[in-house]
């Protein structure tokens, strides 16, 4: 029955949706054919779904398969729709909701450029060490750090660099995989 449909007072097709929004990571196995990224991104925009992060790259070369990791925010009902709509695309092999299926590993890489002198420079180096960030470029008044980890860790690192002369950041977006021996 229409258990989650709200009582009257709203109008048709415009039922207010107050259900909780969750952040989910989806792993999508696709044929690596031209236009596949546009197809996936186009589906999200055409249906009004939200994309927080999207990464794509060929992972199984012989079979010509790519893995797309999408982070999206939606309520549970919309999350099911997103999965079903993705599965409907002809070049999509599988869609796994890594957040729903339990524990998964999530990693992101960021390159962080910091410029400064004196104490700020020393403090930046010290923090980078604590975060296990690598120095991948250095000049007399700047560093580029490479940091990997969960998005929260990267965010924290960036926040700490802010007062120490943060210049710019690039992030890869999320790569995620399920724990345990099985493939997706």
């Amino acid at each position: 029955m229409n258990a989650n449909i709200l009582p009257t007072g709203s109008v048709y097709s415009l039922v207010a949706d107050t259900s909780a929004v969750e952040r989910h990571t989806l792993s999508v196995l696709v044929d690596n054919e031209p236009g596949i990224l546009a197809r996936i991104a186009g589906l999200f925009s055409a249906r009004g779904f939200n994309i927080d992060s999207l990464t794509v790259s060929e992972t199984e070369h012989e079979q010509g398969l790519s893995r797309i990791t999408v982070v999206t925010k939606a309520n549970l009902k919309v999350l099911v729709q997103i999965k079903r709509q993705l599965e409907r695309l002809v070049p999509v092999h599988r869609v796994v909701d890594l957040t729903a299926t339990g524990k998964s590993l999530e990693r992101e890489l960021a390159l962080v450029k910091v410029a400064g002198e004196g104490d700020d420079r020393i403090e930046a180096l010290r923090l980078a060490d604590a975060f296990r960030a690598q120095v991948v470029d250095a000049s007399t008044n700047s560093f580029v750090f490479e940091i990997t980890g969960k998005p929260t860790k990267i965010e924290q690192f960036i926040a700490l660099m802010m007062p120490l002369g943060l210049v710019e950041v690039v992030r890869t977006g999320l790569a995620a995989i399920a724990r345990g021996p099985e493939p997706m």
Partner: protein, 586 residues
């Protein structure tokens, strides 16, 4: 096995090998090699249209009336963009279609070459799938795959964009494989057995059940319609259907409730609202059906049979989803029902039917007749009476006339009713009728039209004349974009902004100018004779049927209202029924 030929020849060979007999198209620079290949064979007949949109609707009419894939051939740039409306229409109504478009040569792609457009980019979201063929080696596979994808699972349009150098290139052609399969696309045909058993259990216990059927039953093939009839007879349940599903269940059956939804019958909508078990077979809970979703059938258990998993729980929360092909699921339901019971449930369903009879007695399709002017409803009733014993196919345009056709023209067979439901495309009906007539040479094919809609693709009347396709275009001419005018009356204080059909052409002269026949009728007493004249004429006819100008289409569930809040034909003061919230909805 492999045979060497040019890409253009492959296109035509693949059409032949896929059993295609007709293709609707229009030539241009980027498809000339394919037109050359057409010239040198006679298995696939090409129907030359007047506008590419016409070709797409013809292919839709062809497909919907035969169950086969409709085929279209257009050139690059404007040819492809003109096809977009028909592709979108086919996507929303799940019509199998393959559209081949020419493209500029691969080295020119991206250079803004003459008549270049990003066809795969433009059509990505209005097709089930699309391809840009970059090499002639891929062409045979893509051609066969396109037919498989268009026609299997939930059908839909597929575009194949073929650059001109690929059409000239020589490569190996392969015939379609005996067993088609695809590495990632695998539609689920068989419904889950456990779920079907559970559905039958629910059906055996239901006190106020209803079958709510849709276009999926038609798409599933004539066998599905036969099985629906059988299951309805076995169970004794009432049946209603969406606009797209008309004909899957015979209108002449005592179990038929009429169409449901915005302009559906009172009994169908009330029964949907009050039922305790809703069995949706091949419909998708479109907003024209549900009305206000939060008040939609509040106390029922809902079963939903659909081949497309994304339809489940999209608009309405479902208790028991069954993903599979309608025909397969219907067959299983019948089989399981038979093993479980052999007694009729007539006695238990009596109170429900009694209630339904009360709703029926409201007679929501009544209208005030007239001796002076032709009422549009009357015109459809007379048309239906005149063609009762004929092999007849009906197409429509979009507007009030479409709804009146759905309400007053009874369909007893599937594939006889072609209308633009999901997209609501004015200009669909005339070319669709041409497509139907191409497939059914000796049948009586009638486009029930509005004077505004028909002018959108009027030029295809010329196609009908060229190929001696005796389509009948029955225009309910109310001199208004009637449906727009009705909404303006209901929602906008009767301010008829831009909805009057000004400067109408003389349709009789127009028909004659095209080389067809024109008939005009404005007197209800002469209507039968005029309709007979139309039917008896062996050639295309434009029938200008002058009807009441400001007739409204009722019953109606206004926007923002629930199924049990219908406007009936004689509800007074229609201007105040829709509240402000309803006005923002379409």
């Amino acid at each position: 096995m492999a045979e060497e030929m040019s890409g253009a020849e492959m296109v035509i060979r693949a059409l032949q090998d896929q059993g295609v007999e007709h293709i609707f198209g229009y030539p241009g620079g980027a498809v000339l090699p394919i037109y050359d290949a057409i010239f040198q064979q006679d298995k696939v007949q090409h129907i030359l249209v007047r506008h590419e949109q016409g070709a797409t609707h013809m292919a839709e009419g062809y497909a919907r009336s035969t169950g086969k894939v409709g085929c279209v051939l257009v050139t690059s740039g404007p040819g492809a963009t003109n096809a977009v409306t028909g592709l979108t229409d086919a996507l929303l109504d799940s019509i199998p279609m393959v559209c081949i478009s020419g493209q500029v040569a691969t080295p020119l792609i991206g250079s803004d070459a003459f008549q270049e457009c990003d066809t795969v980019g433009i059509t990505r979201n209005c097709t089930k799938h699309n391809y840009l063929v970059k090499s002639v080696e891929d062409l045979p596979r893509i051609l066969h795959e396109a037919f498989y994808i268009a026609s299997s699972g939930r059908p839909g349009p597929v575009v194949i964009d073929v650059p001109k150098d690929v059409q000239f290139a020589i490569g190996d052609y392969y015939k379609p494989a005996a067993h088609t399969s695809h590495k990632s696309y695998r539609p689920q045909i068989e419904g889950d057995h456990k779920a079907i058993e559970e559905a039958v259990e629910l059906m055996m216990r239901a006190k106020r059940p209803i079958f709510y059927t849709g276009g999926g039953v038609i798409n599933s093939g004539p066998e599905a319609s036969r099985n629906l009839r059988e299951l309805a007879e076995l169970t004794g349940f009432p049946v209603t259907s969406t606009l797209m599903g008309l004909g899957a269940f015979p209108a002449s059956s005592s179990q038929w409730m009429g169409m449901l939804g915005m302009h559906g019958t009172y009994e169908a909508n009330m029964a949907m609202h009050d039922c305790d078990l809703m069995i949706n077979i091949g419909a998708r809970f479109d907003d024209r059906i549900t009305g206000r979703v939060d008040a939609f059938s509040p106390n029922s258990t809902k079963i939903h049979v659909d081949i497309d998993p994304s339809s489940i729980n999209k608009n309405i929360v479902i208790d028991l989803p069954i993903i599979g092909d309608c025909n397969h699921v219907l067959e299983e339901m019948i089989r399981i029902w038979r093993t479980r019971t052999n007694t009729s449930r007539e006695e238990e369903l009596k109170p429900w039917w009694h209630q339904i009879e009360k709703w029926r007695a409201v007679d929501s399709l009544r209208y005030k007749g007239s001796d002076e002017v032709i009422k549009p409803q009357f015109a459809i009733e007379r048309l239906a009476a005149a063609v009762k014993d004929k092999d007849v196919y009906i197409t429509t345009e979009v507007g009030q006339h479409q709804m009146w056709a759905a309400q007053y023209f009874p369909f007893d067979l599937p594939n006889r009713w072609m209308t633009s439901g999901g997209l609501g495309t004015m200009g669909y009906g005339l070319p669709a009728a041409v497509g139907v007539q191409v497939a059914h040479k000796d049948a009586l094919v009638i486009d029930i039209a509005g004077e505004a809609s028909v002018q959108m693709t009027m030029q295809e009347f010329s196609t009908a004349v060229q190929y001696r396709l005796p389509i009948k275009v029955f225009i309910l001419n109310n001199e208004y974009m009637g449906m727009v005018r009705q909404w303006q009356e209901l929602l906008h204080g009767g301010r008829y902004s831009q909805s009057y059909s000004e400067s109408l052409p003389d349709f009789v002269k127009m028909a004659e100018a095209y080389g067809g026949k024109g008939i005009r009728c404005e007197d209800p007493k002469e209507l039968d004779a005029a309709i007979k004249e139309m039917i008896d004429y062996d050639g295309p006819v434009l029938f200008d049927c002058r009807v009441t100008k400001e007739e409204n289409c009722f019953p109606m569930i206004p926007s923002g209202k629930a199924h049990n809040e219908m406007i009936l034909p004689d509800t007074a003061d229609v201007g105040n029924i829709i509240d402000d919230k309803g006005k923002v909805l379409v």
